[in-house]
Amino acid sequence: MAEGISKRNNVTVFGKGSRAFVFAHGFGCDQHMWRYLTPAFEDDYRIILFDYVGAGKSDISAYDSERYSTLEGYAQDVLEVLRELDLKDVIFAGHSVSSIIGALAWLEEPERFSHLIMVAPSPCYLNQLPDYVGGFERADIDGLLDLMDKNFLGWAGFLAPMVMQNSDKPELTGELEESFCSTDPVAAGEFAKATFLSDYRHVLPEVSVPSLILQCSDDVIAPVGVGDYMHERLPCSELRRMKATGHCPHVSHPDETINLIRDYLSSAVHE
């Protein structure tokens, strides 16, 4: 069992520090997306990377549609990885939806976390007018699912749905493994629904762990207003507005991201 979770979630551990720094990828990609950030921290921290079940090189046979139909299921992945590695007081960096997943994990076992770094987070992607502008309508999410189908399933998928769940088709799995941000088409679709149809605004006031919100400029997925909303409701949060545009500052603007995290950690740890 000990090796089970590490294998299931394709856990990667490296770095020289004693304190664990866990990086959790968001929707649409896998642990590769942290590759521009980790070199900056590996001398001081024990770096923990992993793929959620259904993404990257995780064990797709462990995928369970029911478990992963809500973000709580993904939070279980985080906790199971931390438990298996027997980690406490970790710094947890979550991109996008993983920010909320980290918050949910903290609510369940707070002793395992010391700080949450939330990169381009959003507690709710759908507009809840008039009080809340998440940025999306339901039709946009349907459009996204359609795009994912067309891109991830491809023609083979068109004709043979769920191909990636067929372990007797190694050639297809192999093809996936070679690319970055690989994902199982079915799992990706369900992750998209769990992510973009979720609303975890109500948990924010309870999440009293020290946290850093990194808010990109011109991010359609997590608009500036959403960062403000989170900062207002997370009791121990700090908000940093970034020059970086888009939704993946750790990929597009790693230096700025690294500096903001370093600044936060150095001040937070020395408080």
Partner: protein, 538 residues
């Protein structure tokens, strides 16, 4: 061509290439767009350059760009055949395929994309996707239908098993019923026949005995008819086929009705003209049919009428037997149902003529089983009727000498073991056999039969089947292991399966109850004859 001209030329080619072109930096800011892309979007190039690349996409496209396309391109250096949706100036969705490559140069990092519109392909894909969804749905429905079908089949199989069991139970019941109905008739029939022939008795007593015999025979016939109907309805009518002379059969049936014909002063005309009159069939069954037609003709013809039996060959060398009468006739509307079970010619006063109305339906089934035809004609009420049967003929077979059952000849006295639990039957049969010089030991149980058989030699065993302490079949199987003694089974079981079982157990002959002494004597004679031919019995 000068360098600026060359560049200008390339720029011109790029601008008007048959695909959109877009270059953006790692911030996502558009650095360059070509005219084709500008035309696709309906937005001037100047309005495209400088904006964030994702702003050219639909909302869903933006998410996909941010979460998948951009990070993958950044890390992998290229992305091929990516499907995205652009948003035109007027808000229309433009499906496109994008190939993108990232290059790092001293002056900066560039992400270059070529963009191909795939509106038509998307239409096909959409149709394909719909077709696939429909096919999947159809498949689901098929699976559901198959499951239901298989469940229905299971229920059907169960129902069939139950029906088979019920049918088997019914057959067994009919066999048992036939046994029970026939058994009491045997001693009555035997006694009545014997007394009828006893010249010592006054004529009026013998006349009454004759009446008793006829009625018991009628009763036995009714039982036979009901059993036949049951066999026919279960498709279990089996024929013991052999070549036979139809004219002989016709002549025999004439004898059967003779007394009735005389009684009613009916003129019976036999006109057997057929030159080809041999048939491969069951003679007993065909006799049953002709007898039934003749009996009906006599029954429905008033006193001093005429009944004519003719035979002839038709064009297809079949033999046609016609039985015509000058009787009450058949109304036209009754002709079509005359062969239906439980129907008689006249709907009113149905039982004026007695009987169950089974004879013709049985006759029809027997004729059909012989690949023959049966028909009825009548000019109408009071104008008589004609029934005809048509049967395929065969060449006259070569005669084989066989004992004449009607004239058994002299039989030497045999030592006979008679096993019969019905006391009256046992006493009567025993007495009548003794009367024709046989030495009879009569017992009522298997146990007693076993004892008798082991203690003395017998030339013949005659045994009932249903005995109080076992079955005659088992008894026969048992003695077959040590003796070849000829044997006759006495049984009310008239079903073909029973005949098979009787043969299988080792009985030489079988006689259906009620027993007619003539028939029993004929069988004994037959057995005596063949045992002499074979060189005697043990």
């Amino acid at each position: 061509m000068s360098e600026p001209e060359k560049l200008h030329g390339l720029g011109d080619i790029l601008d008007h290439a048959p695909c959109g072109f877009l270059r953006f930096n790692d911030d996502g800011t558009v650095l360059r767009a070509n005219t084709t892309l500008s035309e696709m979007l309906g937005i001037p190039v100047s309005a495209i350059e400088g904006v964030h690349a994702s702003s050219l996409l639909t909302q869903a496209g933006k998410v996909f760009f941010q979460t998948h396309f951009f990070p993958t391109l950044r890390m992998q250096g290229n992305v091929n055949e990516l499907y995205l949706s652009l948003m035109s100036k007027d808000g229309a969705k433009i499906p496109v395929l994008i190939n993108a490559v990232r290059s790092e140069k001293p002056e900066g990092c560039f992400n270059d994309c070529i963009i191909v519109g795939i509106k038509e392909r998307e239409r096909f894909e959409h149709a394909l996707l719909q077709a696939k969804k429909e096919a999947e749905r159809a498949n689901e429905l098929k699976e559901i239908a198959l499951t239901e079908l298989s469940e229905a089949n299971e229920s059907l199989a169960l129902a069939k098993d139950a029906a088979d069991a019920a049918s088997l139970a019914k057959d067994s019941f009919l066999a048992a019923l036939s046994h029970e109905l026939r058994t009491p008739l045997t001693p009555v029939l035997l006694t009545a026949s014997d007394l009828e022939r006893n010249e010592v008795l006054p004529p009026e007593i013998r006349e009454q005995m004759s009446m008793i015999r006829r009625n018991v025979e009628l009763e036995a016939t009714l039982i036979d008819d009901l059993l036949d109907v049951s066999r026919i309805n279960h498709g279990k009518l089996t024929l013991n086929r052999a070549p036979f002379d139809l004219h002989e059969i016709v002549a025999q049936t004439e004898e059967i009705v003779l007394s009735e014909v005389e009684e009613k002063q009916i003129s019976l005309v036999m006109d057997l003209q057929a030159s080809s009159h041999h048939v491969n069939g069951d003679p007993a069954r065909i006799e049953q049919v002709i007898w039934n037609l003749l009996k009906n003709a006599v029954k429905f013809t008033p006193e001093k009428g005429t009944v004519t039996v003719t035979t002839k060959n038709d064009a297809k060398s079949c033999v046609v037997v016609e039985v015509s009468d000058t009787g009450i006739g058949i109304p036209a509307e009754q002709l079509p149902v005359i062969f239906t079970q439980f129907e008689q010619g006249h709907a009113t006063g149905k039982h004026r003529f007695g009987g169950l109305g089974l004879g013709l339906s049985i006759s029809q089934a027997i004729v059909f089983a012989h690949e023959g035809r049966i028909g009825a004609e009548s000019e109408g009420e009071g104008k008589g009727s004609t029934f005809s049967i048509t049967l395929p003929t065969i060449e006259k077979p070569v005669e084989a000498s066989s004992p004449d059952p009607e004239n058994p000849g002299a039989v030497e006295g045999m030592r006979i073991l008679l096993v019969e639990d019905h006391e009256s039957t046992r006493l009567v049969v025993s007495r009548l056999l003794s009367k024709v010089n046989h030495d009879v030991i009569a017992v009522g149980t298997v146990e007693a039969a076993r004892e008798a058989f082991d203690s003395q030699p017998f030339n013949l065993v005659i045994s009932d089947l249903g005995l109080p302490d076992g079955s005659g079949l088992d008894f026969m199987s048992e003695i077959r292991s040590r003796s070849e003694v000829p044997s006759i089974a006495l049984s009310g079981f008239g079903m073909p399966e029973d005949v098979k079982r009787i043969k299988a157990s080792g009985f030489t002959k079988q006689l259906t109850k009620p027993i007619k002494m003539d028939r029993l004597n004929a069988l004994i004679c037959e057995i005596d004859h063949s045992s002499k031919v074979a060189g005697g019995t043990d």
